[in-house]
Amino acid sequence: MKIWLYIALLLTVIPLQTTLLHHVTVLDVRPDLGLVVVCLVGFFGGELDGLIIGFILGWSQDIMSAGELWVNVVSKGGAGFVAGLAGRHLAHITPMVLLIGLGAISCLSSLVFVYSMKTSDWDLMWHAFHSKALIQAVLDAFIGAGAYWLFARRWVTDPFLQQDRL
């Protein structure tokens, strides 16, 4: 069951991100659905699921992006792993916890992009961070927390967390 869910996510998230999501922008910045999905997989499925799905999703995203072919592999894989660790060590996940956690992970993953710019121009790096990374972090956090809230309302999440965690 879970493997089919993951395959469905891998096949829909990137096409959705590249085709329909450019209609939903705030100050020309789109949420990173891939990151949101990877973090949710990490929270619910554990470190290994987060790492593997993050790696594959990041790779797919890199193939469909003009950037270098490692940035998303590293940032998404790392984000999935960190989300898994956080999910394991937090006693009770609430939408508010997820909101803050996702915002922080999104900011951290954006730092990988800023690093990949290979520039020593602090002005450029700061501009990239506050004009893109922060807005994206807010969007990611709200979408992730909203998705979690819907998910938690509809299904009981505890069994999934306890039994399927790796």
Binding site: L11, I14, T19, L48, I52, W59, S65, F113, L166
Partner: protein, 293 residues
């Protein structure tokens, strides 16, 4: 469900493999990039199927919106377009006259006829998957003859260049991205420079000589000296010219000729100078030359 369920050992193995990958990416960046690109080919091919589906869905929704809902103000727009058409028709007559005169002079000077570049038509099926680059995804890839570094245009002007390809799709870095640079010249004054994208999503021409007589409204075209574009393709119109005290060059902000937010179909330039390539093949002794029987 059981596939990703693992023991502590397999989790440790996955983490070690990821750490090794990280080390390879940082120690051997170009080699590991090549391997990832090669191995990612099948992933790109698989992804191109849902991408096409979502893209056609997006196109359908846009058509409905633009065809039925967003029709407010169409009468005013129509009136303005008619005015513009009259102006362009007048300009067209003048240009036709100028073309005849140029052809006559070219015949007198025995100039070589400029050939039309070899192009591949492609459809835009998506935008860059991240917020960090201004790029588009095309539905044509290596199996259609698209390769990295090829130029991409529309009839209105330059769009960008191909940076990544899979067998059935390719990624184009737009001209308005700060990581892109195109050799250009000012149509009126023939001053050469480099056009780069800006953070705000427009373009800037750099390295214009101080003594140049450029002014806002001048058109900028490709110079054809380097890269994948033939000479004479429209890039943009100068809107603002800047010169800081102590600078040895001037720079100018450009309004791109192509509206990058409304790209549906584009042309990929397979070979900017078909005739030049063909004539190169005819020169005996050139590497890779196919001798005619």
């Amino acid at each position: 469900m059981a596939i990703l369920r693992s023991t502590y050992g397999s989790k440790r193995l996955a983490v070690v493999l990821f750490a090794l990958l990280l080390a390879a990416l940082f120690l051997l960046p170009s080699q590991s990039q090549g391997v990832l690109q090669f191995l990612g080919g099948p992933i790109g091919q698989v992804l191109s199927v849902p991408l096409e589906v979502f893209s056609s869905l997006d196109r359908g929704m846009t058509e409905i919106w633009e065809g039925y809902v967003a029709l407010r103000g169409i009468r005013e727009e129509n009136r303005q377009l008619r005015k513009q058409l009259e102006f362009v028709q007048g300009q067209n007559n003048q240009l036709r006259e100028a073309t005849v005169a140029t052809q006559r002079l070219e015949a007198l000077l025995d100039f070589k006829q400029k050939s039309i570049p070899d192009m591949i038509a492609a459809q835009v099926i998506g935008r860059d998957a991240t917020n960090w680059y201004r790029g588009i995804i095309l539905n044509k890839g290596e199996q259609n003859g698209v390769r990295a570094e090829m130029g991409v245009v529309t009839p209105a002007g330059v769009v960008g260049r191909v940076v990544k390809t899979t067998s059935s799709s390719s990624v184009v870095l737009l001209m308005t991205d700060p990581n892109n640079a195109i050799a250009a010249l000012v149509q009126g004054t023939r001053d050469e420079g480099i056009v780069e994208g800006t953070r705000s999503g427009r373009a800037r021409m750099k390295y214009i000589p101080l003594l140049s007589t450029v002014h806002p409204g001048d058109r900028v075209i490709t110079s054809g000296l380097t890269g994948s574009f033939p000479r004479g393709l429209a890039i943009g119109v100068m809107t603002h010219i800047q010169q800081e005290e102590g600078d040895v060059f001037r720079s100018a902000e450009l309004e791109p000729e192509v509206d990058m937010t409304k790209l549906d179909e584009v042309l990929v330039i397979r070979s900017p100078y078909e005739e030049a390539e063909a004539s190169k093949k005819m020169i005996p002794g050139m590497p890779g030359e196919k001798r005619k029987p």
